[in-house]
């Protein structure tokens, strides 16, 4: 187990190193003059020179890369060109919107998907099963930002139950702030719930056929007991994997939904950094998103190895 863990940690670090190098090459080496890209061709020569100086563009690319990664490792981020504050401060401000949003969406997705996925599996071939599968197909095909737009039209514009866009901030009170996140969270959760319901159905169907389930039934356990303590427990392995991946993708994928609702979250920050070409913000935010995905994958691998010893030797 220790060797496995050590190898996984090394792999995690190597992946992050390569990914950060790729981000650096795309954002700062490919454009040639990153300062010119950020300011545009009409920039004043002295502003341009100042930014070049701030970004250290006169130094060789490799030393700039090392300075960036070394700074991050020491907990120091660059200073945003457009906002004039450290990127870490921007990220933590925006995370106070994106993180609760992603968590709400994830909880919604799990609460919807697991019961209906189990229902479909245990009532295989019935009308309910086809109902769940139909919901799943529809949920996967509805673009989340279209659902977001329609929900604004219906619940905010027509009925007036929710604010159409914007975020009052946590200062305005937790209830008010959470209320503003309800429609975005539902929009994000719908496609994820659709996929998760399908995965749950398949996982439960697979375990329903296992010998130990037949054994549990043969020794006289009731159907409810078999379902909850034998089937669901074993089916949880693939389900957890998908939930982990979905959380990472919810953090990154909220970019479009945050744009629809004009929420000041991480996605909005990324999008604004692209429009304003603030590469200093962009490289840190993208690396953060990639790191989250990689860490979640790492944790899922570790969880696998804890549950199933065979996985320790597979990789």
């Amino acid at each position: 187990m220790l060797t496995f863990l050590a190898r996984r940690v090394l792999l995690l670090l190597a992946t992050l190193l390569v990914a950060s190098f790729a981000i650096f090459v795309v954002l700062e080496v490919l454009p040639g003059d990153a300062a010119l890209l950020m300011l545009g061709i009409e920039a004043q020569p002295d502003t341009l020179a100042a930014l070049r100086d701030q970004m250290g563009l006169d130094r060789p690319a490799l030393s700039r890369y090392l300075a960036w990664v070394g700074g991050l490792a020491a907990g120091e981020t660059g200073v945003s060109y457009t906002y004039g504050v450290p990127v870490s401060q921007l990220i933590s401000e925006r995370m106070s919107v994106t993180l609760p949003l992603a968590l709400m969406a994830l909880v919604l997705s799990v609460v919807i998907a697991i019961p209906i996925g189990m229902l479909a599996a245990t009532r295989r071939g019935t009308v309910r099963d086809y109902g769940v599968m139909g919901f799943s197909q529809i949920g996967m095909a509805v673009p989340n930002f279209w659902f977001a737009i329609l929900s604004i039209l219906f619940f905010a514009v027509l009925l007036g139950w929710f604010p159409a866009s914007g975020f009052p901030g946590w200062e305005a009170g937790v209830r008010k702030a959470l209320w503003a996140l309800v429609l975005p969270a539902i929009s994000l959760a719908l496609p994820e719930a659709a996929i998760l319901a399908r995965v749950t159905r398949t996982a439960v169907l697979d375990t329903l056929e296992a010998d130990y389930v037949r054994m549990a039934r043969a020794k006289g356990l009731g159907p409810r007991r078999v379902l909850w303590s034998h089937v669901l427990r074993n089916a949880l392995v693939p389900i957890t994997t998908i939930i982990g991946l979905q959380f990472a993708f919810l953090l990154a994928g909220s970019i479009v939904v945050e744009a629809v609702f004009a929420l000041p979250g991480l996605g909005r920050l990324t999008f604004q950094a692209v429009s304003k070409r603030d590469l200093i913000v962009l490289r840190d935010v993208i690396l953060l998103l990639v790191t989250l995905v990689v860490i979640v994958n790492f944790l899922v691998d570790i969880a696998y190895a804890v549950i199933d010893p065979r996985a320790r030797y597979a990789a």
Binding site: A19, L27, I195, Q246, A252, I255, V274, V293
Partner: protein, 282 residues
């Protein structure tokens, strides 16, 4: 039991049929738009703005008085083109890498597998943002970004399926009689993994259409005046309180196209081989 089996059979073929019809309609709309649309997609007529459906304007007009049906047809063409090129990039590069990894094994295999892991760490929208930040927004850059995202998907699927073929005796015996691994890949591996690849391509096509619509909505994909479904939704947000159809129709087009491709992919998988399991990547 027989009834259940009948229903399953019917549902499977029904899904395949519905999927094929929806996909066919989208392709048809795209093809027809090459030669003919009811109106010019960019013909502005302020006096005719925000009209309801009628004989002249089947789906009505938008806030500039442009014909929505014509714009949806060109939008279909746009989505199909994005899907074909983005999936094409992923299919060619990914399958080549996957086949190579399976045929060579050893460090080549490790390199491809780890490389796929790293590219996978960049969600499609994130890699698209990375690319458009430097090269500017536009349809071509969006397609490239989605294409890059597709490479590891196909590399993984091809590698996994090809390794199974390589474990079969007929592939191994090819080596024994002195066939090169390239020849075995061509004669045995590729034909055997083709069904998996076709199914995966159908699903990735749907993913590509969704991703392009999201990028176009953000203003990072297809640029105006070219109509795209995603951008039409963005424009609709300003006027939807006045005219809800603006927000409903383009989304419905995306929904039906994606639903059709997903149903087609699932139906093909069940028909070609019920044991096949494909990866579904968001």
């Amino acid at each position: 039991m027989i009834r259940t089996a009948d229903i399953t059979c019917l549902r499977r073929h029904l899904g395949l049929l519905v999927g094929a019809v929806l996909t066919g309609l989208v392709i048809l709309a795209a093809l027809v738009s090459l030669f003919w649309t009811p109106h010019a997609f960019d013909a502005v007529s302020i006096s005719q703005r925000l009209q309801g459906p009628s004989g002249t304007h089947w789906f009505g007009t938008d806030h500039f008085g442009r014909d929505i049906a014509s714009r949806l047809m060109i939008g279909a063409r746009n989505s199909i083109m994005v899907g074909v090129v983005a999936v094409g990039i992923g299919l060619v590069a990914g399958v080549a890498l996957g086949l190579l990894a399976a045929a060579r094994g050893g460090w080549v295999d490790d390199l491809v597998a780890r490389g796929a892991d790293i590219v996978f760490a960049f969600p499609a929208v994130v890699s698209a943002i990375l690319i458009t930040a430097v090269f500017g927004p536009g349809a071509v850059n969006a397609i490239i970004a989605i294409g890059i995202f597709n490479v590891p998907v196909f590399a993984r699927v091809a590698r996994g399926a090809a390794r199974q073929v390589w474990n079969q005796e007929y592939a191994r015996s090819g080596l024994a009689i002195g066939k090169s691994s390239a020849a075995i890949t061509r004669d045995h591996v590729l034909p055997n993994i083709a069904p998996v690849l076709i199914v995966q391509a159908t699903i990735q096509f749907a993913v590509a259409i969704l991703a392009e619509a999201a990028l176009a909505y953000l203003g990072l994909g297809t640029q105006p005046p070219s109509p795209s479904w995603g951008r039409m939704l963005f424009d609709a947000q300003t006027f939807m309180a006045l005219d809800p159809k603006l927000a409903i129709l383009p989304g419905l087009a995306i929904f039906l196209a994606v639903l059709g491709l997903n149903l087609l992919g699932d139906g093909l998988r069940d028909t070609l081989d019920p044991r096949l399991r494909t990866e579904r990547m968001g």
